[in-house]
């Protein structure tokens, strides 16, 4: 086994901070090549559209559900297999809906990143 130089192992956060203090330099100004800039603009627009869509759907779900439950107190009395429907609507139903929403948004965000030429 070759001899290795000993290095203090720290968390990435500490490493960054120490590097920052050692160089004392402020960050370099961000810069993008013109070709990248154009593509970045396009992706930014597409991603923003996708993100706003997902957030809007999430809002419909988590604002709509309480409104629905407040508007129809009768759901407390309706039972499925002994459990009040309103309890199911709050304790169980949101989770599969959230998982599906996450899946949907993930797919769209990844599609927006793909170059336009590819199908």
């Amino acid at each position: 086994m070759t001899r290795q130089r000993r290095v203090a192992v720290t968390s990435p956060q500490t490493r960054l901070a120490m590097a920052r203090h050692r160089t004392g330099a402020r960050m370099q100004l961000p810069h993008l090549a013109p070709a990248d800039l154009e593509r970045a603009r396009r992706i930014h627009r597409a991603q923003l559209r996708a993100a706003l869509g997902a957030v809007a759907l999430l809002a419909v779900l988590i604002i709509g559900l309480p409104v629905l439950l407040a508007a129809f107190p009768g759901l407390d009395g309706v039972r499925v297999a002994g459990v009040p429907v309103s309890w199911l609507a709050l304790g169980v139903l949101p989770y599969p809906a959230l998982v599906l929403l996450a899946r949907w948004q993930l797919r769209r965000a990844e599609r927006a990143e793909r170059p336009r030429e590819l199908p």
Binding site: H44, P84, S86, W87, G91, L106
Partner: protein
């Protein structure tokens, strides 16, 4: 046996941390190990760090105390990762920033904003850590019968020892293991309880009746001073005194005393609490302490939890272990699925608790319902076994979250707030922070674990959420706008919550808007940030600084 189970959790955690470090051959392996972690493993680690004592104990406790509507906590805690996935995960990973202060400097180039963000990390971490220590102290109190302060001090000692031994330090697979452990220790006892209680109790749990009479002789152990209002002559035996019949009126039960109510006795009223099982209790909207305006309270909670998740300092660091932006996004999506499994179960404990242990609401001990249920259902060795499992799980939850938060907090203090940095000082800061949290948790016995954690979310939602969302998606954000917006958000969330500890707002609308300010403080912070930014001019490089966050790494022609 219960204490042994908790010690075992601590030992296994430390061992996995130590073995994991030993198994890694070279420093460079250690430093790049994070790059190879798959989204699924990383999502388990995120969930492991996220599921705190507030989720393990607090949500079920709030269901017992405030009603079925408290299940919205779980929905909000999970939905936060959708906001994270859609708005923050991938671009944040691409900045290479590990913390919000790093992000603030990378995106807006302002050292002042970095320091302000460091202060906000401090506030969020404190609001999040105090209830963790409270919960850990409470668990130890329940299982060993020692006073509350002993539990908190022991919990602080356990965290400090684990830190000193190097266990769990930033090791992804330790957190992933913690998630598996917590999930198992939460779900298996829940299923056992449901099977064990019998058909009658199951039916009662689904169709609760208001807790107005004691159905059996019930000893109530008061852990805090509580004022009770007796409405009719009530036979009771106070510990150390002969049996007596209380005339209607107000009585103070002092902490540490046990009142045994006779079978059939009327349940006294507690100011500011609804008895479990009533019609209000069973409504699926959040109505804390019966203050009214359940819709507002529910919305405020959801805004805080959904938008606050993206600003939690210990969670953001975890996303950095993804290989790239795409991996971070996948991590967030899988986390939604993992948390969805966990949050199906707090309701089981809450609903069973409302039938089997409604007297906990009298004693102000609803946070203990999860660990108290097994012994109530089975007084033999099985009950003890499951109490041990649940206590171990709660302690694992406490350890995982507190260590992550303590590291984030001391990182903020020594990297963002103080000049210069040494590893030694970082270590001392971490220990100092643990001592500070113990000192704050000692007088916090009467605060709800779940509610206090939500204040942490409210602060994150009112400060870091606008900074991250506008910073990532809006090129015109200026450093000045970010500073003013964050200050406004910090004062209207943390300031208002802090003031509500000293000034009691009249119950009703004002109490909800002041106790749960997210509903108005988040929009206020957003609007301030936008308006102040529009009055200023972003630097010429601002547009490139924002756009590069959206470029997929694999196609990037200018690597950092």
């Amino acid at each position: 046996m219960i204490v042994a189970a908790i010690v075992l959790v601590v030992l296994v955690t430390v061992l996995i941390g130590a073995r994991g470090v030993a198994a890694i051959r070279s420093t460079s392996d250690f430093l790049v190990a994070s790059r190879r972690i798959s989204p699924a493993l990383n999502a388990a680690a995120v969930s492991g760090e996220y599921l705190s004592a507030a989720s393990f104990l607090g949500v079920a406790g709030l269901v017992l105390k405030d009603g079925i509507g408290a299940l919205w906590y779980g929905v909000g805690f999970t939905a936060g990762y959708i906001a994270m996935l859609a708005l923050v995960a991938a671009p944040m990973r691409r900045t290479g920033a590990l913390t919000v202060p790093d992000f603030a400097e990378a995106r807006l180039g302002s050292a002042g904003l970095r320091r302000l963000s460091g202060v906000v990390v401090l506030v969020i971490a404190t609001l999040y850590l105090v209830p963790q220590f409270k919960a850990a102290g409470l668990v130890l109190t329940v299982v060993s019968g020692t006073p509350y302060w002993v539990g908190v001090v022991v919990a602080g000692a356990a965290v400090s020892i684990t830190l000193a031994l190097g266990g769990m330090r930033a090791a992804t697979y330790v957190q992933a293991f913690q998630f598996g452990l917590k999930l198992l220790l939460f779900i298996v006892p829940a299923i056992w309880l449901v099977l064990q209680v019998g058909a009658d109790t199951r039916r009662e749990a689904l169709a609760p009746v208001e807790f107005t009479r004691f159905e059996r002789p019930s000893p109530v152990e008061f852990r805090l001073d509580v004022e009770l209002t007796v409405t009719e002559p009530t036979p009771v035996t106070v510990s150390g005194r002969p049996p007596e019949v209380l005339a209607p009126g107000r009585y103070g039960a002092s902490a540490g005393s046990t009142w045994t109510f006779a079978e059939g006795a009327a349940v006294p009223e507690v100011a500011g609490s609804l008895p479990p099982g009533g019609a209000d209790w069973a409504r699926p909207l959040l109505n804390p302490d019966g203050a009214g305006h359940p819709m507002l309270a529910t919305m405020s909670l959801l805004v805080a939890t959904v938008l606050g998740t993206m600003g939690l300092p210990h969670i953001l660091v975890r996303f950095h272990t993804s290989s790239d932006g795409r991996g971070a996004r996948r991590t967030a999506a899988i986390t939604v699925a993992l948390l969805s499994v966990f949050y199906l179960f707090p309701g089981v404990y809450g609903a069973l608790g409302a039938v089997l242990l409604p007297e906990l609401y009298l004693a102000g001990g609803t946070d203990t319902v999860v660990v108290a249920l097994p012994a109530r259902v089975d007084s033999g060795w099985l009950g003890t076994l499951f109490t041990a499992l649940l206590s171990a799980g709660a302690f694992a939850a406490f350890l995982a979250t507190s260590l992550g938060l303590l590291l984030a907090l001391s990182g903020a203090v020594s990297h963002d707030l103080l000049p210069g940095v040494t590893v030694r000082r970082l270590r001392l800061t971490t220990l100092g922070a643990a001592v500070f949290m113990v000192a704050l948790a000692l007088p916090a016995a009467h605060l709800d674990v779940g509610a206090l954690v939500t204040s942490g979310f409210a602060v994150a939602a009112s400060t870091f959420c606008p900074l991250l969302v506008l910073g990532i998606w809006w090129a015109r954000l200026t450093a000045q706008g970010a500073v003013v917006g964050m200050l406004v958000g910090l004062v209207s969330s943390a300031g208002v919550i802090g003031a509500s500890f000293f000034v009691t707002a009249p119950p009703g609308l004002a109490a909800i808007l002041l106790g749960q300010p997210a509903l108005w403080s988040v929009p206020l912070a957003f609007v301030t940030m936008v308006l102040v930014s529009l009055r200023g001019r972003p630097p010429a490089w601002a547009s490139a600084a924002m756009l590069r966050l959206h470029l997929d790494e694999t196609e990037h022609s200018h690597r950092r």
